[in-house]
């Protein structure tokens, strides 16, 4: 049979494709629907938090940080309750990461504050001597991309039926409404910060990346 196939490249390719592909379908299909169910009370990210999540992706924090707490005592003692599938139901893309050069961040919102992040992101070594995390000064001057965060949320709402604008869920509305809401939320975060340039920018209606990022980190619980 193999000799026969080797002289008929077309059939060879078909058999080859089926051999390779079928594992994927068997693995993916049965649990796909189940794994996408949100746990009770889960809310999608606000536009400001999503903008922060985009900063997290842009600066690729996941190259050093995981967001997946495994069910071992040593992990739950360090990071809190182990992660559940339903907690990730609105995460597009998922941000589990694959390496912990730094600690897991899935529940960092439970034990770090805005003020702590502000100092740490500006200069990690000043807060945790011996840290090898880069300093992220540029996030204090770059502006967050709220418009793309809005488009991101709206795509999820329209296409994937993520429950924005429903009862008890974050409001999205039009771009103008969403922008105003995000800026108002940014003011609350900036109130706990002390960097004057950031405070000034927020007062003027701008949103530096660091504000959005901290809003996102605070939402990780």
């Amino acid at each position: 049979m193999f000799h026969w196939l080797e002289q008929r490249p077309f059939f060879f390719a078909v058999v080859l494709f089926l051999t390779v592909a079928f594992a994927g379908f068997i693995e993916a299909i049965p649990d796909f629907a189940k794994a996408s169910q949100p746990i009770a009370g889960l809310k999608p990210h606000t536009v400001l938090q999503l903008a922060g999540r985009q900063v997290y992706i842009k600066d690729n924090c996941l190259s050093c940080h995981s967001q997946l707490i495994r069910p071992f005592k040593s992990e739950t003692d360090r990071y809190g309750m182990y992660s559940l599938s339903g907690e990730y139901a609105y995460d597009r893309p998922f941000l589990w990461g694959s390496k912990r050069t730094g600690p897991d961040l899935h529940r960092v919102g439970n034990y770090r504050t805005t003020e702590w992040h502000e100092n740490h992101m500006m200069n990690p070594q000043s807060v945790v001597p011996g840290s090898l995390m880069p300093s992220y000064k540029h996030q204090f001057t770059n502006m967050a991309d709220l418009a793309t965060a809005y488009a991101n949320a709206n795509t999820q709402k329209q296409l994937f039926h993520v429950p924005y604008d429903q009862k008890g869920m974050p409001k999205l509305g039009s771009w103008k409404e969403a922008e105003a809401a995000a800026k108002a939320e940014a003011k609350l975060v900036a109130a706990d910060m002390k960097n004057q340039a950031v405070k000034d920018a927020v007062a003027k209606g701008q949103v530096p990346e660091i504000v959005a990022l901290i809003a996102y980190l605070n939402s990780l619980k």
């Binding site: 000799h3 002289q7 490249p9 390719a13 080859l16 051999t19 390779v20 592909a21 594992a23 693995e27 993916a28 649990d31 796909f32 794994a35 996408s36 992706i57 600066d59 690729n60 924090c61 996941l62 190259s63 050093c64 995981s66 997946l68 495994r70 071992f72 040593s74 992990e75 003692d77 360090r78 992660s83 599938s85 990730y88 139901a89 609105y90 995460d91 597009r92 893309p93 941000l95 589990w96 390496k99 912990r100 050069t101 995390m133 880069p134 300093s135 992220y136 709220l146 418009a147 793309t148 809005y150 488009a151 991101n152 709206n154 795509t155 999820q156 329209q158 994937f160 771009w175 922008e179």
Partner: protein, 490 residues
């Protein structure tokens, strides 16, 4: 066989890919050395503002070496091996020639654009699939072009049966096409931006959370399989017998190992997600199938080693054979190491640690890097019609790089296991013994050692580039193509 003499193989595309492979190898590996240094000396992360941080540079490294260097080497050697084993020349078909040229230029442009966009922070965040949607579209186009060229060339063949190498190249083309498309299913968000001035580059994944992870690692694991493994096996099946003048040890073993590998590989993806929130049966399956994977992997490696039966003295006389045999040995090392890491109890310690990059690099540096360099060396006297420039340089390169690899993976083994053990250590009162920063600081010497090892490897690669450059421009001109062992000046 006699028709062989009349075919004038056309190597113009092969030469282009050879150039690009070396160029992207230098760029990708230099960035590798930089990020290795950054973990040892973190101040280095802040030299270029946001553009120089570890997080931004890491995808430049992985994409540069995987899609620039490795894929360049794969497609380049395909146009060489394909013509020769199918007994056809690209110059016989102006159409295929054009397709092959477009294949090259689009690939080249994509990698350059990847460097720019990843550097600017446009990323989907998924490992080995970071490129944003416009680049994904480009990738799909040149991948399809490669497929057209491949099947077109097969259609024009004079040799009835297709050779083992072609099976492997073909599997790589098919599988990557499928995996890449499914994993990169994403929607550009500007389509739903209303009147918000949003970025055109941004897209959102069609899958969420656990599903997204599942698809990603189904892809990620198999990107390793069909970029770093199968096409490289295709290379060794051609270049080792050719360079040594030996026949492949066993046809039966080739067939078994090939179909075995094809059948098992995709099942093993679950081993990236052990103890995560994907269903248990998938984790168990991933773990078990990873062990089974040893068989077909070692099957082809042993087949290659036994091909040298009775001719082992060539290891002393030819640095090229040395590269290939050591490559095969490293392949055996990493395909036993991977399954060990996939055992659930081992994975509990190994996952998230530096042992994983350690494992990645004994495979990529020892197996992928060595095989690609050896293949380019073998092709050089044929595509440039010149003698290889320096054998002694090649020998020196071999030892420097081998030392580099050993430093790399031994330091990461120790680092990974140290880290994994410290994270889970408890004191006598039942509290965690180490704070996280303790487990960071203890790694400094190993990170330093890894950077040294990586620097050795990079120096060796520069020697390779120099040797190739001198071969192409200053090697002694050959009046006829060598049959087997590549001619080299001492």
């Amino acid at each position: 066989m006699q028709s062989n003499a009349q075919i004038e193989y056309d190597y113009s595309v092969v030469r282009l890919f050879t150039f690009a492979t070396i160029l992207f190898g230098i760029i990708g590996m230099s960035v590798g050395v930089i990020i290795a240094l950054q973990l040892a000396f973190p101040e280095l992360s802040n030299l270029l503002g946001e553009y120089g941080t570890f997080g931004r540079l890491r995808p430049l490294h992985t994409n540069g070496v995987a899609f620039g260097f490795t894929v360049g080497g794969i497609i380049g050697t395909w146009y060489y091996v394909g013509q020769r084993t199918l007994k056809m020349s690209l110059s016989e078909s102006p159409f295929l020639m054009k397709v092959a040229k477009w294949n090259f230029w689009l690939y080249f442009i994509t990698i350059l654009l990847a460097v720019v966009t990843l550097g600017m922070g446009y990323s989907t965040s998924k490992e080995y699939a970071q490129l944003e949607w416009p680049l994904d579209v480009l990738v799909v186009i040149w991948w399809v072009l490669w497929g057209v060229a491949m099947f077109g060339m097969i259609g024009m063949r004079r040799e009835r049966a297709i050779y083992v190498s072609t099976w492997y190249y073909m599997s790589s083309w098919l599988a990557v096409a499928m995996l890449y498309i499914f994993n990169n299913m994403e929607v550009p968000t500007f389509l739903f931006s209303g009147d918000a001035p949003s970025s055109i580059m941004h897209s959102v994944s069609m899958y969420a959370g656990t599903n997204d992870a599942l698809v990603q690692w189904w892809y990620g694991h198999n990107a390793v399989a069909f970029v770093f493994t199968t096409p490289i096996i295709g290379m060794i099946y051609y270049f080792l017998p050719k360079e040594s003048g030996q026949n492949v040890f066993s046809y039966k073993l080739s067939v078994l190992a090939f179909w075995g590998l094809m059948f098992v590989y995709l099942w093993a993806g679950g081993h990236h997600l052990l103890y995560s929130t994907v269903p248990d049966w998938m984790q168990t399956m991933g773990s078990a199938m990873s062990i089974v994977l040893i068989l077909p992997s070692w099957g082809s490696a042993i087949n290659m080693l036994l091909t040298m039966k009775g001719e082992w003295q060539q290891l002393q006389t030819s640095p090229l054979i040395k590269f290939m045999i050591l490559a095969s040995t490293f392949y055996m090392l990493s395909t036993i190491e991977g399954p060990i890491q996939a055992i659930k109890s081992v994975n509990a310690i190994a996952h998230f640690t530096d042992w994983i990059p350690g494992h990645v690099h004994d495979g990529t540096l020892g197996w992928v890097g060595f095989m690609i360099m050896a293949s380019l060396y073998h092709m050089a006297p044929r595509i440039y019609k010149r003698e290889l420039y320096s054998k002694s340089l090649m020998d020196t390169q071999f030892w420097i790089q081998t030392t580099g690899i050993v430093l790399y993976f031994t330091s990461m083994w120790i680092a990974g296991i140290t880290q994994g053990m410290m994270w889970r250590a408890y004191d006598e009162y039942g509290s965690l013994l180490y704070s996280f920063i303790d487990t960071v600081e203890v790694l400094h010497p190993y990170y330093t050692l890894r950077a040294v090892g990586g620097t050795f490897y990079l120096i060796g690669f520069l020697m390779f580039a120099y040797n190739m450059f001198k071969t192409a421009t200053a090697g002694r001109v050959l009046d006829k193509e060598p049959a087997n062992a590549s001619p080299m000046a001492s």
